[in-house]
């Protein structure tokens, strides 16, 4: 790949000390993510995919190895507001309106008032929530709440978007729609996206690169570069190419399990 590296991990290790002894959450992780890539992390629970994403976001601290984001340490990248983070639950503040929630990071980062309004309007349009600015989160459906939380992550100028199973709690119909919209959004903004999921079709449908991981210890077992075109209608999932990639992912997951 000739794309400039945005996220780079070299022999990364992360060990949690628990009351049952140390847990090896990440073992010898080597990974390079280029600019503008859509990278999915897939694997069974406990494989460290979320931990890796959190380490990139400076929410966990690696025990050894190097990890750089935009050429900086994760902490410096966080302080430079290099990425937006979307959690599995929308995590909107119930006491703020939808617009108020999207504005929150802008307020914290000290954007001028006029620009705040302009950005909020723009990202809400991007996630198709125009007209819901004055609603409170609890008046919206789960899918709409999650879209608002994506808008919140997009509101400031981070060129990396980290998403931790953002659609995991939604039903499949809503999920398909949001997947489609996410691809459109990615095409429109050119951001680098890191995406944690445990759904094989979702990973294959969305990504340019699929990182297959397996547990105990959490490690990368396969990195698959997708051959699918960037332009992806929903019915691409019935193509032979799609099925072939999905098969390879499934093989990778199974290989990881043989080791236990």
């Amino acid at each position: 790949m000739s794309l400039p590296a945005v996220i780079e991990a070299k022999s990364l290790n992360l060990v949690f000390q628990t009351s049952d002894g140390p847990v090896h959450a990440l073992k010898d992780v080597n990974l390079t993510i280029g600019k503008g890539e859509f990278v999915s992390f897939i694997g069974p629970s406990g494989c460290g995919k979320t931990t890796l994403l959190r380490a990139i976001a400076d929410l966990e601290h690696p025990t050894s190895g190097t990890l750089t984001v935009n050429g900086m340490s994760p902490e410096a990248a966080r302080k430079a507001r290099a990425y937006g983070y979307v959690f599995q639950a929308a995590g909107l503040y119930p006491w703020r309106t939808i617009a108020g929630n999207v504005r929150l990071p802008l307020e914290i980062m000290g954007y001028p008032k006029a620009e705040q309004n302009q950005r909020v309007a723009r990202v809400l349009e991007l996630v198709e929530l125009k007209g819901f600015e004055r609603k409170f989160p609890w008046q919206l459906s789960g899918g709409m709440q999650q879209r608002a939380s994506i808008a919140r992550a997009l509101a400031f100028d981070a060129d990396i978007l980290l998403m931790d199973e953002p659609f995991g709690a939604l039903d499949e119909i809503v999920r398909d729609r949001l997947n489609e919209e996410l691809l459109k959004l990615w095409a429109a903004t050119g951001k680098t996206i890191g995406f944690v999921t445990h759904s094989i079709p979702e990973a294959v449908y969305l990504s340019t690169k699929i990182v297959v991981m397996s547990p105990r210890p959490g490690r990368i077992t396969d990195v698959i570069d997708s051959t699918l075109p960037r332009e992806r209608p929903l019915d691409i999932r019935d193509s032979a190419e799609f099925i072939a990639i999905a098969h390879r992912v499934r093989e990778g997951l199974r290989a990881g399990h043989v080791d236990d």
């Binding site: 976001a57 929410l59 507001r81 995590g91 006491w95 307020e107 409170f136």
Partner: protein
């Protein structure tokens, strides 16, 4: 099914009409002979009317709300009509007892019918929710009045509600003076100082994890102690007037408020704190944007607890010494003079005041924490 074709209903209407005619005839006959006899018949007529009306309309065929509400209103009217008659009649105590039990049961049926009705939204629903406790409360007061009259309970043991009401009406200036002294000067200032300082201190405690781990158990412990016992000490230190009352109130409300606020400030979930972290928000920012708003339900819980404690503290502190006015002073001296109607007048005032102060904070809470699940449904 059309209600008009129901033979049951027609039969019931006929029964009711003939009964009503009979009652009117009897009452008129009795009234013509001697007007005071109407008094004697009043409770009998009322109770019978209530029972007839009450047993009749609760058939599923008549489920429409309008006629049902009208029927319930008619039952209530009959009950009120008869109940007043019973009060005038209270000397014949054996019959009175039986009648009183009958009224109680009839009122109970009324409440049961009301409670079984489907809940309604809006103003009507709110009224519906109020009727049952109101009927219960009024029945209780009525039974009290009746019992005092019928059994001839001496005033020095239990005055009748009517006497207490008269006493309240005739001594409004005294009640007002006491209220200003105890609530206005003692409880309110103590409440403001205690809750305000506890809130500010909670912010400091929240800033330092060591303090939180150390102070929270100690605060919880102190909040469970009978702090009211410090009243004599504060009366010694600050004199008989309101500052000592305010000090007792401060001591009583400080720890409950502190514990609640500290817990509230810690009540954010992990994900929301992580989110703040990914935005590199500072301590101050995460306080203003996240933890303070999230703490509000806890803060108001503390304020509501303290609202009750404040009045209790101010009243009890006056038992240990006070100027010659104030609610606690009045209660303890009038008890000594066996002027129980005045004592009850003060207690009624205190009860009203306590609920009003509590209700005020509950209202503010609803305004501020409109987003909280516990507030949304209403």
């Amino acid at each position: 099914m059309s209600a008009t074709t129901d033979p049951n209903r027609a039969g019931w209407a006929l029964t009711w009409a003939s009964f009503a005619a009979l009652m009117v005839a009897v009452t008129l006959a009795a009234g013509l002979e001697n007007p005071s006899h109407v008094m004697g018949f009043q409770p009998v007529i009322g109770l019978f009317g209530a029972l007839m009306l009450g047993l009749g309309p609760f058939r599923p065929q008549l489920a429409a709300a309008g006629p049902r509400l009208a029927m319930l209103a008619a039952v209530a009217a009959c009950l009120v009509f008869g109940a007043f008659g019973l009060l005038d009649w209270a000397e014949r105590s054996l019959i009175v007892g039986a009648m009183a039990v009958g009224y109680w049961l009839a009122a109970w049926m009324l409440v049961a019918r009301l409670a079984a009705m489907p809940a309604r939204g809006g103003l009507l629903g709110r009224a519906q929710a109020l009727v049952a406790p109101l009927v219960f409360g009024l029945t209780l007061i009525w039974a009290w009045q009746l019992a005092v009259q019928a059994l001839g309970v001496p005033r020095v043991i239990l005055p009748a509600p009517a006497e207490i009401g008269a006493r309240i009406a005739s001594s409004l200036p005294i009640l007002w003076t006491d209220l200003v002294q105890t609530f206005g000067r003692g409880a309110l200032s103590g409440f403001a100082i205690g809750c305000g300082s506890a809130f500010l201190f909670a912010l400091v405690v929240d800033r330092f994890d060591f303090l939180r781990r150390g102070l929270l158990p100690v605060g919880n412990f102190l909040a469970a102690l009978p702090i009211i016992g410090t009243a004599p000490i504060f009366v010694m230190w600050f004199g008989f007037d309101w500052p000592s009352k305010a000090a007792v109130v401060v001591a009583m409300v400080f720890f409950p408020m502190l514990v609640n606020t500290v817990q509230g400030l810690a009540a954010t979930d992990r994900m929301q704190r992580d989110l703040m972290h990914t935005w590199s928000a500072g301590w101050w920012q995460s306080l203003m944007f996240l933890r303070l708003p999230a703490a509000m339900p806890f803060v108001f819980n503390g304020l509501k607890i303290c609202a009750t404690l404040a009045l209790i503290g101010a009243i009890v502190a006056e038992f240990f010494g006070s100027p010659t006015y104030g609610m606690g002073f009045r209660i303890s001296t009038e008890v000594g003079r066996l002027q129980l109607d005045m004592v009850w007048a003060e207690i009624a005032t205190a009860a009203l005041l306590g609920s009003a102060f509590y209700g005020f904070w509950a209202l503010v809470e609803r305004r501020v924490t409109f987003w909280h699940p516990s507030q949304r449904g209403r």
